[in-house]
């Protein structure tokens, strides 16, 4: 509308050309940035070992950025975020956006974004919080007083971070690179792929291809920032579809500057339901055993057995009370059979029954309950219940054993 002056002498045809021109300019403005960004990079060539050493020697760096996580695992579609806002269950399928901050040491924050909702995980040294905006619920994880003294001596890797792939849980000793490569070489072809760009940064790509056909993993590609050696993207292809990655998590935008300290300060908001959870720290002795060479040591834990090797590894855990886990409390556990949805309290359950009536039409937003979810995700097999996905199979047997591995479901059923 600012085009009043030049418009005076235009013919009708020329006037209709204006919107076409505007559309072209708009399209150009939206497409141009991605074209510029996809310009090829020219990084010096590296061997896999050199790249691994580079990664191993890299200091953890403070960073903040946006991560897009996409899972195409072939699980039943669960439009959960539509119903209950952002929750970690979103990660089972579809695309999720996660915002990440880390000071490169022991403070980090990850926020899983939903439209008008958010699930945050804040870690501040020995304590951590999760906050779900849709439930207004806080879970506060702390280390008990005895362990707190030991905490300082323990490696960061002892604790599960919010987004371990990117939070800087890297093996610090440089030799680990050689050891890892040697170990990986037993089962994997390790190569350096073509350099790429992730989130506008030059990145090396480390390719891992399993040597066996007995796994669901076709190949793995890890993009590593050329400058800071921080992992920028991990893509995993499944044997079922070798074109589109079954699992992809990578930065869409990242900056390696220290985030504002205020991000890591979390106080439970007033009025929120707060649950306190005390996390036992693993014994330092146990912790020694997490080197890749000692994977078999997993079997040293009670009731855990490991069979297979490398990509074909199957972990078997005994004595798992699935129903108890799902229900969370004994009252709900007894109410499980025949109950489509269960609530935490009996009063709520009664009220729900009244509101829902016999037809089962649901007023408002239904609670997602774990048992229904479990039923939906798994399928009945003679051995128990089976969860199959593009990358992982899990078999829960009727006698309380859980078998899991990146192997075809048949392998698990044969083992069980």
């Amino acid at each position: 509308m600012a085009s009043t002056a030049p418009a005076r002498s235009l013919s009708p045809r020329a006037r209709w050309a204006v919107p076409a021109g505007v559309a072209a300019v708009v399209a150009g403005a939206f497409v141009a940035p991605s074209v510029i960004a996809s310009a090829s990079s020219d990084l010096p060539e590296l061997t896999p070992a050199e790249l691994l050493v580079k990664v191993a020697e890299a200091e953890p760096v403070p960073l903040s950025g946006t991560v897009v996580y996409t899972a195409r695992l072939g699980l039943p579609d669960l439009p959960l975020s539509e119903v209950q806002g952002a929750s970690p269950l979103d990660l089972l399928g579809g695309s999720s956006t996660i915002r990440l901050w880390s000071d490169g040491e022991d403070r980090s924050r990850a926020a899983l974004l939903g439209s008008l909702s958010e699930f945050s995980v804040v870690r501040d040294g020995p304590q951590a919080w999760t906050y779900s905006s849709s439930d207004d619920e806080v879970v506060h994880y702390t280390v008990d007083a005895d362990d707190l003294e030991r905490y300082g001596e323990l490696d960061d890797a002892a604790r599960s971070g919010a987004a371990p792939e990117v939070a800087g849980d890297l093996p610090t000793p440089a030799e680990a690179a050689d050891a890892l490569l040697a170990y990986a070489a037993l089962s994997t072809d390790v190569s350096v792929g073509t350099a790429t760009q992730v989130a506008g940064r030059d990145a090396y790509q480390l390719g891992l291809v399993p040597r066996t056909d007995g796994t669901l993993v076709d190949r793995v590609l890890v993009a590593v920032d050329a400058e800071t050696s921080a992992p920028l993207r991990v893509q995993v292809w499944a044997t079922g579809d070798t074109q589109t990655p079954a699992l992809e998590v990578g930065f869409t935008d990242v900056s390696f500057t220290a985030p504002d300290d205020a991000v890591f300060d979390f106080t439970a908001p007033p009025g929120a339901t707060t649950t306190e959870v005390e996390v036992p720290l693993p014994d330092p002795a146990d912790h020694e055993g997490t080197d890749p060479e000692d994977l078999k040591d997993l079997g040293a834990f009670d009731g855990v057995a490991v069979s297979g090797f490398g990509w074909e590894t199957v972990v078997e855990v005994e004595g798992v009370d699935i129903e108890g886990l799902l229900a969370g409390d004994p009252a709900a556990a007894t109410a499980l059979p025949g109950m489509d949805r269960s609530f935490g309290s009996e009063g709520a359950q009664d009220l729900y029954g009244e509101l829902v009536g016999e037809e089962g039409t649901v007023p408002g937003v239904p609670e997602i309950d774990a048992a229904a979810l479990y039923d939906q995700l798994t399928q009945e097999v003679p051995e128990g219940r089976l969860l199959t996905s593009a990358l992982l199979s899990v078999l829960v047997t009727d006698d309380g054993r859980v078998l899991a591995g990146a192997v075809p479901a048949e392998v698990l059923r044969d083992l069980a």
């Binding site: 509308m1 418009a7 013919s11 009708p12 006037r15 204006v18 849709s134 504002d260 007033p270 007023p363």
Partner: protein, 295 residues
């Protein structure tokens, strides 16, 4: 004004021969358009209706609070009883999918087509003002009305929320708590973002309005585009085009309730609206400045 001038003004495609408009003509035109849009009884009823949404919501929540049926509902509903400021957000989010597009569609779709149907458009075109400026005045008047719709909901929500529940510190989606003043500022940002999110729809409605002499058709077409856009947005198979959809970024307004506001996200949403405004504004201009107006 001579007869020749009149003929020139009326002849499509030849507004070049219109004499230079007297100073302040555009201002007078804009004022009269604003009077027309904001003074019209139907439009005032629409504004009042929108303003009643938060009152209704707030009253329901006030009556049912502390009872068993208080939980559930649209986003933020469970937070309203703790902080009246959230009533503004709840009401805006509740009105976004349908009510706001409907009201904007009615007013923008009526802008040109309504005059054409009433037979007043040809007299309007007799004014010594180029059609471009006439369209600009109409667009501005509708934009002002769009701003009024959002403000009506926001102010009514603020007053109702403050009266029923009071206003206090705001808990963000991230779980951090900010002062009531910052919460108020963020709410103002949300209101501004929602208002700007409607500009694409205004341009679209204006374009449809130049196509027809039947205002209802333009209104319906505008609302249909908004609804179809929402439907397409819900289809994961079309995720490739989601970013360009008119309504896709509307709920990005939640960004203003996160601990660190990523302006890029908001900018992206506004850029998409800008694109819709540019394209359909240009289309409306082409159509309006070349159309034969016979009634």
């Amino acid at each position: 004004m001579s007869l020749a001038d009149l003929a020139a003004a009326e002849r499509p495609g030849a507004p070049a021969e219109t004499p230079a408009p007297p100073r302040g003509a555009f201002g007078r035109l804009l004022r009269s358009e604003l009077r027309l849009v904001l003074g019209r009884r139907r439009n005032l009823v629409l504004l009042v209706g929108l303003a009643l949404v938060p009152v209704l919501l707030g009253t329901v929540l006030f009556v049912t609070r502390d009872t068993a049926i208080s939980a559930g509902g649209p986003p933020f509903v469970d937070r309203v009883t703790g902080n009246g400021l959230f009533l503004v957000l709840t009401a805006l989010v509740a009105c976004l999918p349908l009510l706001l597009p409907l009201v904007i569609g009615i007013v923008s779709g009526d802008a040109v087509a309504g005059e054409a149907q009433a037979g007043t458009l040809r007299y309007l075109l007799l004014l010594p003002v180029p059609r471009t400026r006439l369209l600009a005045a109409k667009a501005l008047a509708v934009l002002v009305f769009a701003a009024c719709t959002v403000l009506a909901i926001a102010l009514s929500g603020l007053v109702t929320g403050a009266a029923y529940f009071g206003i206090g510190d705001v808990t963000l989606l991230s779980g951090d708590t900010v002062s009531a003043a910052e919460g108020l500022a963020r709410t103002a940002g949300i209101v501004a973002y929602v208002g700007l999110s409607l500009t694409g729809l205004v341009a679209l409605g204006l374009f449809f309005s130049t196509l027809t002499e039947v205002p209802v058709a333009a209104m319906a077409a505008t609302v249909v585009v908004a609804i179809v856009s929402g439907v397409l947005d819900a289809l994961p198979q079309l995720s490739a085009i989601h970013g360009a959809l008119l309504t896709h970024h509307w709920l990005d307004v939640g960004e203003l309730l996160r601990t660190q506001i990523d302006l890029g996200v908001l900018g992206q949403g506004l850029a998409v609206q800008g694109a819709w405004v540019a394209i359909f504004g240009a289309l409306a201009w082409s159509r309006f400045t070349t159309a034969d107006v016979s009634s």
